[in-house]
């Protein structure tokens, strides 16, 4: 992989360009309010632990629901939908 290369994905329909090696959780900050899901009362939540422990960063990635965004690298053409 080229250093400094970038790729493009879509987060909630919005086109976002990030450097190769960016995690989906990190990319959420570019797509708005750094929100990954809504809690039972509808309030927004975002990533907390960054390492696959807290489950706050789960989102629908390429059609698969409940994927941990902090464990998922961004890929070209990826579709991310948050449920917030």
């Amino acid at each position: 992989m080229r250093d400094g290369a970038s790729l493009t994905l879509r987060i909630n329909g919005r086109v976002v360009t990030v450097p190769v090696g960016t995690s989906v959780a990190a990319a959420l900050a570019l797509a708005g309010d750094f929100v990954s899901r809504g809690d039972l009362g509808g309030r927004p939540r975002g990533p907390l632990c960054g390492m696959g422990v807290c489950f706050e960063c789960r989102a629908t990635i390429d059609g698969v629901p409940e994927v941990l965004a902090c464990l998922t690298p961004c890929r070209d053409g990826q579709e991310v939908v948050t449920d917030a």
């Binding site: 992989m1 990030v18 450097p19 190769v20 090696g21 960016t22 995690s23 959780a25 990190a26 990319a27 900050a29 570019l30 309010d33 750094f34 929100v35 990954s36 809690d39 039972l40 009362g41 309030r43 927004p44 939540r45 975002g46 990533p47 907390l48 632990c49 960054g50 390492m51 696959g52 422990v53 807290c54 489950f55 706050e56 789960r58 698969v64 409940e66 902090c70 464990l71 998922t72 690298p73 961004c74």
Partner: protein, 425 residues
Amino acid sequence: MREACDLVVVGAGPGGLAAACRAAEAGLDVLVLDQQPEPGGQIWRGEARKREHRLARRWLSRFAASGARFRPGARVVAAPEPGLLLVEEGTSSLAVRYGRLVLATGARERFLPFPGWTLPGVLGVSGLQVLVKDGLPIQGKRVVLAGTGPLLLAAAATIQAHGGDVLFIAEQAPAARHWGFALQLWRHPGKLLQGAALAAGLVGVPSATDAWVLAAQGERRLESVRLSVRGRETQLACDYLGAAWGLVPNLELARLLGCEVVRGAVVVNDRLETRVPRVQAVGELLGIGGVDQALVTGELAGLVAAEQPVPSALDTSWQRIRAFATALALHDAPRPELRALATPDTLVCRCEDVPLSELEGCGNLREARLYARLGMGACQGRTCGAAAETLFGWAGEDVRPPCLPARIGSLRLPPEPPPTPKRES
């Protein structure tokens, strides 16, 4: 799918990598599993690509040359019988038969609830650090860090190096305890140099001991924090808050396998064998000790697994590191005020939205589970478990399979593959 190996290593942080290198170099067939997309664990995250850090580069290259196999994105979810692990990989699953097992699952941060801690933009101290390493745009963002110990400085250094503006570092430890610890570092020259280098790089960042976060504030996202700094309240407007108090080992898999755990760490003998036959544990699982402990114990465990002699230098450095780990645990112990931050409506369990008030009258973790659904959500108590232990003294004993949320298909043993036709080569 099925896999078989002499030695399976769960966790590709420094501990797991060192064990895998030593065992594979001695001729064992070694398989390393990690849920992260790359090897390196928490400290060497992204280094497989960036190759900036000398020690990381050395170990990652050694690992690549060792002959050990690596499966990224592999989450170990169950251990239904001795010698067998069930693993989920994306949308498929894998059963691994092993002769021996090295547990190297590392540690996570200790989170304690405070008003506003569920707002987006509030993360762990190292949680924020790893997200920055993973590409979180932090250039020009205002960051406050609140927590304890050397990881505060490590996080601040990473954030600054990426152009973030660290406004304040709040160290919860009382001044006397903090400086006592810092002076002890003289006995651990490696740590001292690391600490001094970090501190030098952080000149200009205001920091204080006896300081902690009181509340995070904002509408839909973090806007400001309230801090207690040596008994006085201050408010700071910021974009990110990193708040966590030290580390706790990831014990779920060790408990699932039946390993004995005492005072929050896996019990091992001097060959790093747990009480379960053919299962060893290394790194943070032995008690928080950092990268040095992970490497030394990893090497030791790998040599033992491969039935190789253990150089006495390894044994000696492990003893020295234990002394450092003991000092660190004393320094990082959360002060009593941190237990009183949550108000009745502050959520304690973030998955099931359980506020502190609903835990009134519960006498232990089991009751809190049954009556208030504490720890019953997606993370299975990984976050609120350690919090409840610190807040109420409730210890989490019972881990049930699967130890991570898993698809039902991942819990079934895959069918024996049809015999592969022998090919001429």
